[in-house]
Symmetry: C2
Subunit: 289 residues, 2 copies
C-alpha cells in the first residue's frame, strides 16, 4: 500500500488509508486470504523529527521503536477501515548483527539539518552525512532474514483473519552473542521484508501494489516498454542489466524475484487499483518460475 503523506494531518492520513483499503476489502469479499503490509516512510520521518526536536527534554527513542509505533497507528487505521475479522500483529524482522550494512550506514532518513545540529546528534551516537541540500542522518538497512512473528500471523490467517503485519519492513531485531533478542538501530526495506513475509506465511501470491501499472524495461529511454508476464530467470537478467535501477522500482523487482526464487508461486507488481485483476493474471508485471 502506498503510504499517505506524513506531512498531512491525521484526518488526511485516515482518509488516505480508507481509500486504499477499499481495494483490499474487495479482495477479501471475493474470498481471498489476505495478509497486508505497508510502508511507513513519511510517518516514521515525522516520529524521528519529533524525537529530534524534543531531544533536549525527552531521551530520543531508538529507530526500532519508531518503526513499531507506525505499525500500530497505520495498522489501527486499516482495522477501523476494514471493520471486520482483521487484526494487527506487531511484527519483528530478524537481521544479522554482522550484516555489512551496519559497518556502512547509507540509508538517509528524516529531514535535512544544519551541520551544527548534525554534530549535536552525532554526540548521541548517530551517523550523519553531508548531502547537497544539507546534513542528513544515515542508518543501516540490513537484509531481512526472517519474520519472527510469522507463526502468529499464520495462526490468525488460519482462523479467518485478515492480518496487517510487518509494516515499514518490520521492527528490526537481532540476537546478541548470548542469543538474546533486542531491537537494532536500522531500517528494513519494506519490499524485501514483504517477500520474506510472503515466504514465511507460505503465501501463494505476493502482490506489490504501487502507484504505477508495473515494471518498465528501459525506463526513461525511447525503448521503454511495460513488462507483463516474465519468468524469474528472464527478470533476473533484466534486473542485473540495470533496467530497474532508477527510482523506487529496484527493490520491488528484487522482492518479486526473491519470493518466486524461494519457492513462491507468483509475484505481481501492479497499481493499487488493479490488485484484484492482478490475482487473475490480467494486470501488471507477473513473475513466475
Amino acid at each position: 500500500m502506498t503510504g499517505p503523506d506524513g506531512g498531512a494531518s491525521p484526518g488526511d492520513q485516515r482518509r488516505a488509508v480508507e481509500q486504499a483499503v477499499r481495494h483490499v476489502a474487495a479482495l477479501i469479499a471475493e474470498g481471498h486470504q489476505v495478509t497486508l503490509t505497508h510502508g511507513n516512510g513519511p510517518q516514521v520521518g515525522n516520529l524521528i523529527l519529533k524525537n529530534q526536536l524534543a531531544a533536549h527534554v525527552v531521551p530520543p527513542v531508538p529507530l526500532d521503536w519508531c518503526g513499531a509505533q507506525t505499525q500500530a497507528t497505520i495498522g489501527t487505521l486499516v482495522l477501523n477501515a476494514l471493520d471486520g475479522r482483521a487484526a494487527v500483529v506487531v511484527t519483528r524482522t530478524l537481521v544479522d548483527p554482522a550484516d555489512p550494512a551496519f559497518q556502512d550506514p547509507v540509508k538517509p532518513i528524516g529531514r535535512y539539518f544544519s551541520e551544527a545540529e548534525a554534530r549535536r546528534f552525532e554526540e548521541l551516537g548517530q551517523t550523519w552525512r553531508r548531502f547537497d541540500r544539507g546534513w542528513r542522518r544515515v542508518v543501516a538497512s540490513p537484509e531481512p532474514l526472517e519474520i519472527l512473528d510469522a507463526p502468529a500471523i499464520t495462526a490468525l490467517v488460519a482462523a479467518g483473519f485478515t492480518v496487517v503485519a510487518a509494516g515499514g519492513g518490520g521492527v528490526p531485531v537481532a540476537r546478541d552473542a548470548g542469543g538474546r533478542l533486542g531491537g537494532v538501530e536500522a531500517v528494513i526495506d519494506k519490499d524485501l521484508a514483504a517477500a520474506v513475509l510472503a515466504r514465511d506465511v507460505r503465501a501463494t501470491v505476493l502482490v506489490i501494489a504501487t502507484d504505477v501499472p508495473g515494471a518498465v524495461v528501459g525506463f526513461g529511454t525511447a525503448q521503454a516498454r511495460p513488462l507483463g508476464a516474465v519468468t524469474a530467470a528472464e527478470l533476473r537478467v533484466l534486473h542485473a542489466a540495470g533496467h530497474f535501477a532508477g527510482g523506487s522500482m529496484g527493490p520491488k523487482v528484487e522482492a518479486a524475484l526473491r519470493f518466486v526464487e524461494q519457492g513462491g508461486d507468483r509475484s505481481v507488481i501492479t497499481s493499487l487499483e488493479n490488485i484484484g485483476a492482478a490475482l487473475t493474471g490480467e494486470s501488471g508485471t507477473v513473475v513466475r518460475k
Copy 2:
C-alpha cells in the same frame, strides 16, 4: 505489569520489562495460558510531550495514536524478553461517544505548562485546566465497553500463544452516527479495560499485578488491615464505603469486582512477585462470587 519510568532511557525501560516478564515466564512455564496487559502512563506522557514540543513543525497526532504507539513499543520489549510463542495484538477498546466523560474531561495527562502555552494548545482544540502547580491538559476517560480485538486474541491463545494486548487500556475507538469506527481523543483506565479484556477472552482468573501485596481496608488509618479472600458482595460494600478511594487502588478494586460480577471465576490483586502464588490462592486479595 507496573510500567517502567518513562523518564528512564530506552535501555532502562528494556531492563525493567525483562525483570517484570520473568514472573510471567514462570507462569507460562507452568502451563498457564496467559494474556498480558500493561500500563503506559509514563510512555504515553513522553509521546504527548514530544508532540507538544514539536507542534510548531509537525501536526500533533491524536491521543488514540499515542496509545497505539505504546502498545507496539512496550509489546515488542515483552516479546523480545519472552522469546517464545508470543504475539502482540494491537487492541482497540470500544467506548460510547455519548459517554458523559466526553462532556466533562477530568483526567489530567502530560506535564504542567504555563498559562500562555496552555492557551496555545487550546487553540488546537484541547482542553486545559489550571491546577496548583500550573496548567495541564485534561481528557475524557470513558468506560470501556468491549475489546474489539478479543476474537484475534482468543484465536491466538487457542493456538498456544501468550498474547500481549490492550496495553494502556487499549486504543479508544467509537462508532459515529453512520456506524463507522474511528479513534477518539480519550484515555481508558487500564485496570477497567483489563476487566473487560478478561471477560471478552473468557479468562478464568484476572490477576492485577501491582507494587503492593493486595488491597487494604481502612488504608492509612489505625484499623488498616490487609484484605485476603473476600466475596464480590462484601468487597462491593467496602468499596462503596470508600475504603479504596485513596491512591490508585480504587480502579483495581473496581476492575476485580466487575470481572467477577460479570461471570469471571476469580480476581486477584497482588504484587508482581506473587502472581504465581496468586493463581493457587495463596497470595493477595482474592475476590470470588
